[in-house]
């Protein structure tokens, strides 16, 4: 490749946001060649998006800051160019599907760029239809955004940048808040587009196992504003770098390592579908599996939360939930999974009394609480929304947490005591006098959890607590929740992260378009291809590995892995 001239070329490039004291990108040197497919990963705050925004021109034309060195995109020095000139070469798909769906209908949104280029209507419609065809959304041209699923919206965004045949496609965390199957579909679509249009593709994503579902040419690892590694996937996965920089490596790889199989011998280690294991690796995996002892979990029947034939429709006509029957034990930590739009969040809102069911009942400790008010129920069941910014309404952390118990007739001292208590539990005590704006996303998340905990609920429901978080913050939040659970609080987590489900929750409730289709251990769920298909989940690569090694009971193989993984991390 190297004889080709690079299409993107950073030379001693640095960038510093005006609001920052230090440069966010430091002395970047990077060449990307036409037709390459690059995966950029790195811890949160390492500068991935910033790098991306340099390529598409948002930096320096939308975010002001100081640039040093040079960056050429398709032969143009970006800082002397304009965002318009760049946007005809670089197509960017951002994370937030609603933020970039600006049209009132699918058609309008895809045509948006063409409208701005003053293309006349006839031609515009041709191009739009063609782009829609490419991403397979052509049947919905007249639909409005709120009639589309997250995945469909994302396809529209892709079509929206494909219309002015760009040379480079840039995706910033395309998988965040998509259900696993849709995410898989997105990755496959990206590959398809790359093949058809022969564009250069840059993907920013820290869920690399999912990103590697289709092959990539290189993986860049970023840390603290620098590119610390730039390797072929195979080499990157074989090196210890990912673990060192807190990026989650593919599960099957970890498993192979536990089984002390020699990963340097394994071919196509970067893609589970092409992975081919030699006899000895297979054996080492099998031996490891047999060497593991598995313990059974005991279940009592002391239910804290039950729902009976719960049915609900926002508009009173189209039911988004039908006859949901769920039983949740005291002290359980369980997950709710399923397709986008399956009704998971709606279910939580019903349980917390935010919405009133058209039919059915909610029981708390055997008492029927269906008709109690939000406020009353909040004392027992807490709900933490996905976006912390939607919950935070105070400037000081203390006030935010105190809000929930402000006017229930406690004295100042009692309030302070309880707030400090909670802040200690949440590891925020030393920040108690900080303004919330000074906190990181993960910390904000904990503040919102604290603001719920302070009301002393026995059940706490979290809607996608780890969406878009890197491994460190993910572990931080989840370990914290695990401790809460140890203290006897029942924790319910709505999530699209299959690994979270396996790693932290004893049981998974599976939703599929408005129905509860199953309820069993996460490992069992992911080893049930039919269910996986139905609920738009994604088989865990451990399942594939188990079958590859001819292990008869993949479920218990997965369990073993999780146990082992837990023990390993507790050693650290």
């Amino acid at each position: 490749m190297s004889e080709m001239t690079p299409i993107i070329s950073f030379k001693n490039f640095s960038f510093q946001y005006n609001a920052q004291k230090r440069p966010t990108l430091k002395d970047i040197n990077l060449d990307i060649y036409p037709g390459e497919k690059i995966l950029i990963c790195g811890a949160s705050g390492s500068g991935k998006s910033t790098l991306g925004n340099c390529i598409n021109g948002l930096i320096p034309f939308s975010y002001n800051g100081k640039i040093e060195g040079s960056l050429t995109v398709d032969g143009i020095e970006t800082k002397n160019s304009s965002i318009f000139e760049l946007s005809t070469r670089v197509g960017t798909v951002l994370q937030d599907p609603d933020g970039q769906f600006v049209g009132l209908t699918v058609g309008e949104d895809i045509a948006f760029a063409l409208e701005n280029d003053c293309i006349e209507q006839g031609r515009m419609i041709e191009l739009t239809d063609h782009a829609a065809m490419q991403v397979g959304i052509e049947k919905h041209m007249k639909k409005a955004p709120y009639d589309l699923s997250g995945g469909q919206k994302q396809r529209v965004s892709m079509a929206g940048v494909l219309v002015d045949d760009v040379k480079i496609l840039l995706f910033d965390e395309p998988l965040a808040n998509l259900d696993p199957a849709t995410g898989k579909g997105a990755i496959e679509l990206i590959e398809k587009l790359k093949k058809e249009t022969n564009t250069t593709v840059v993907i920013i994503e820290h869920r690399i196992e999912d990103a590697l579902w289709e092959n990539v040419d290189r993986i860049l690892l970023m840390a603290d504003g620098c590119i610390v590694a730039d390797k072929k996937p195979q080499d990157m996965l074989r090196s210890p770098l990912l673990n060192e920089y807190g990026i989650r490596e593919p599960l099957y790889l970890t498993a192979l390592k536990y089984a002390s199989a020699d990963i340097n011998k394994v071919e196509h280690i970067d893609n589970i579908r092409q992975l081919n294991l030699e006899k000895e690796e297979v054996n080492s995996v099998r031996d490891w599996y047999l060497s593991q002892q598995r313990q059974q979990t005991v279940n009592d029947n002391n239910y804290i939360l039950e729902t009976q034939d719960l049915s609900f429709a926002y508009d009173g006509k189209e039911y988004v939930l039908n006859d949901i029957n769920v039983k949740i034990r005291k002290g359980e930590m369980l997950s709710i999974v399923g397709r986008n739009g399956a009704g998971k969040s709606t279910f939580c809102k019903l349980v917390c009394g935010f919405e009133k069911p058209q039919k059915g009942k909610v029981f708390f400790k055997g008492k029927d609480v269906t008709d109690t008010t939000i406020r009353h129920r909040a004392a027992h069941i807490g709900y933490v929304m996905q976006n912390p910014n939607q919950m935070i309404s105070q400037i000081q952390i203390f006030d935010e947490v105190a809000m929930g118990i402000a006017n229930i007739g406690l004295s100042k001292e009692e309030i302070q005591e309880r707030v400090y208590e909670t802040l200690k539990v949440c590891g925020l005590y030393e920040f108690r006098n900080w303004p919330i704006s000074a906190l990181s996303f993960g910390q904000k998340k904990r503040v919102t959890i604290a603001s719920i905990l302070v009301m002393g609920p026995e059940v706490i429901i979290l809607d996608e607590p780890t969406a878009g978080q890197d491994l460190r913050h993910y572990t931080e939040i989840m370990e914290f929740l695990k401790d809460l659970n140890k203290q006897g609080i029942t924790v319910i987590i709505v999530t699209h992260d299959m690994h979270l489900m396996l790693e932290y929750t004893s049981r998974a409730i599976v939703f599929s378009n408005g129905q509860m289709v199953d309820d069993k251990a996460g490992s069992a769920v992911l080893c049930d291809p039919e269910l996986v298909e139905k609920a738009a989940l994604k088989e865990t690569s451990l399942f594939n590995l188990a079958t590859m090694c001819g292990i008869d009971d993949p479920v218990s193989f997965v369990d073993c892995f999780i146990d082992c993984d837990r023990r390993e991390r507790e050693h650290e």
Partner: protein, 181 residues
């Protein structure tokens, strides 16, 4: 005040949407029989200060007209009142300079002056004249009605808008201030 053509277009749209939602779907009783607190003016004054006169003016106007339309029948004189209100408050945006991350006494005083002026011009003058020209209504009555409206909106904008601006100012990072410890 944020200077960015496209951002202002978007801010106008979102501002109008907020105005619509608050005016149309959020009815919080004000204590006075069948009149609700006009949160939308709090939000409009906020947008006027953050994004400047044009956004303040247009977001209010669009929001107002859309709201009226959703009921059927646009009340133009009042719609223009809203527009002028946002415009005038916006003219003080530079003085208040919320982007500095400060919303202290001085800024508050400016905000108060802006609101005073804006409400007086918007309701008892613009809207009243409109009503008289269009409906030939009795000037005395109209002014009386609108004076009440002006006072109500003034209070609402000062309290709601003021608190929102204060909250927002606390979230702004000052230039070169962010640093990892």
């Amino acid at each position: 005040m944020k200077n960015d053509a496209v951002k202002k277009v978007v801010a106008t749209g979102i501002g109008a949407a907020l105005f619509f939602v608050l005016a149309r779907f959020v009815a919080v009783p004000s204590g006075i029989p069948n009149t609700n607190i006009a949160f939308q003016y709090g939000i409009q004054s906020f947008f006027a200060v953050v994004y400047g006169p044009v956004v303040g003016c247009l977001s209010g106007f669009i929001g107002h007209v859309l709201t009226d339309m959703s009921w059927g029948g646009v009340w133009w004189s009042w719609a223009f009142g809203t527009a002028v209100y946002g415009l005038i408050v916006g003219l003080f945006a530079k003085k208040i300079n919320i982007e500095s991350g400060e919303f202290g006494k001085k800024a508050l005083v400016n905000f108060a002056i802006a609101n005073c002026l804006a409400n007086v011009v918007a309701w008892p003058i613009i809207a009243a004249v409109g009503d008289v020209v269009i409906y030939k209504e009795d000037f005395k009555i109209v002014v009386a009605q609108l004076a009440v409206a002006a006072i109500a909106d003034f209070l609402c904008a000062m309290v709601i808008g003021g608190l929102l601006l204060y909250g927002y100012s606390k979230t702004i990072a000052k230039t070169g201030s962010l640093d990892k410890e």
